[in-house]
Symmetry: C2
């Protein structure tokens, strides 16, 4: 089926379902720091990133493989904890470890995971397919992971505050939206979907580019993580540009949107209507209550551009 | 189907064939050096390592994904050449690029490739299945890649000698034995198989362990790369311990072995009878013409142990 968005889609001869394959690499110093996490949390995060790619296309996780490169000083205990961190959440999402590769690195830990999922009834959601007028939704809360990262950067790793721990946990062990992604792909109302890995300001333009549309975001409707205000962080700033939330961004035709909201199962992470797609390709606007509008500038994470907070 | 040997084996519901999935990571400084190769050759090698894993189980290559982490100073031209190096040989083997991931690294190039293949008629060859008395074979020549590595290490990268170029090329752009692997899996005579990535002295014990047998190698029958003698290298030493030949090692029941050799297609890389499996688990012996025997010691490449020639 060629190159997908968050995952590649293949159709094995005679198989009832499509298979989706996604691969991601996490590198020490770029994607994580050993001193800010535990091996178990690192395993959780590595698997979450890949499961989120499957969730983003509406696939059910089946299998994963792990390639791991470790410097010689990493202990066996570390490796065992890391694997537990990988396999425990993976099993709870239905994915089984089926292979891997372990090698020596010079200095840094590198992790490459490939995950395989299947789409039920061949319903795969792509980034393309959105149309002008569609309602934009996100799952969950945006900016909590970025708040957690800021806390880590300012030395709060071992904070006893529950709120701080919660934000740090969201950064260290994000929860991929597998069940929600699967339901959204099956419900028949969603036209396009992706996961938010680099922040809304980076990811929404990708969805719009794939669908050939623009978008308007209702600034006050964003499900921001208000807890970050306590730490003198700007919740809206983190929600727009923070990244690593691994929530789902998707579009539903306006006419179906209320029925969709009624049908959405309450046990899944909540969804919020944040704006709409427009017929002005590539233009992304923020709109406030008074109707004032300003362009949403890309300030999330991109390849070959460092996150500002990682410049040291 | 659980964890395989060189690749994981899965059976999608309703599909006619098994799918095989393999993943490998190549790291700068450990698996390659940028100053000893070109981006195109590096791409060739990265894809060869994975295709060889599929060949080792008798699978036909279908798809692959690439995760690439590059330092900021790598040029677009380099990336384009690397991708050509990946995709040109992959296409000629029937494999299509279906996805990937590009990210920034601090200093070094990391490459993780996942390849997907299918086994025709569900005939997969594992490392297990060999029995005492089976005849051991290898494809091609052993030790040429290691000779090429030694030449690179001693400053012969730009040698104009055709023989030197040939050895260096074998190291930089190994040819995975896809067609041979597929034929061997289909012919019905082969009991177990693997590819030689770490050298016979490391890999043969793995085959023996999986099959619960021992082995005897006829020292003078090894298809060594005699060209290395010109450079004062020991061809037998390189054939046993060199690694990265990506030839196939497999076993055929003695009673079928002559018919097997007659049926083996002449257009495929030649196969050589190098010894036999024995009922003495874990014991691997070298035997010379006079019947003298000595144990084959593991001195190939292993994870968490550097190749001696890479210590600097």
């Amino acid at each position: 089926m060629g190159i997908g968005d968050d995952a590649a889609v293949i159709h094995p001869k005679g198989a009832r379902e499509y298979l989706l394959i996604t691969t991601d690499m996490l590198l020490e110093g770029i994607d994580f720091r050993l001193e800010w996490t535990t091996p178990r949390c690192l395993g959780c995060k590595a698997i979450a990133v890949n499961m989120s790619d499957l969730a983003a296309m509406g696939a059910r996780p089946l299998y994963f493989t792990v390639s791991l490169a470790l410097p010689a000083e990493i202990s066996e205990r570390w490796i065992a904890d890391f694997y537990d961190g990988l396999t425990d959440p993976a099993h709870s999402m239905g994915a089984q470890l089926i292979g891997g590769d372990l090698s020596l690195s010079e200095e840094e830990v590198s992790i490459a995971i490939t995950a395989v999922g299947e789409s039920r009834r061949q319903r795969v959601l792509y980034r393309e397919g959105g149309r002008a007028g569609d309602v934009l939704y996100v799952t969950g809360v945006l900016g909590r992971s970025a708040a957690g990262l800021r806390l880590l950067q300012t030395g709060h790793r071992n904070s006893r505050s529950r709120l701080r721990q919660e934000a740090i946990h969201a950064h260290q062990s994000p929860e991929p939206r597998c069940d929600a992604g699967l339901w959204l792909a099956q419900c028949g109302s969603v036209r396009c979907m992706m996961d938010l890995s680099d922040g809304l300001s980076m990811d929404l333009p990708r969805l719009c580019a794939a669908s050939g549309v623009g978008a308007e975001i209702d600034a006050e409707k964003l499900p921001v993580y208000s807890g970050s205000r306590r730490w003198k962080l700007d919740p809206a700033e983190l929600a727009l540009h923070g990244g690593e939330d691994y929530e789902l961004l998707f579009a539903v035709p306006e006419a179906k949107s209320y029925r969709f909201e009624d049908a959405y199962p309450p046990h899944l992470p909540g969804v919020t209507r944040i704006g709409r797609l427009t017929g002005d390709p590539g233009k992304i606007w923020m709109i406030d209550r008074e109707g004032r509008r300003w362009p949403l500038l890309e300030r999330g994470y991109d390849h070959f551009r460092r996150r500002p907070e990682q410049k040291q």
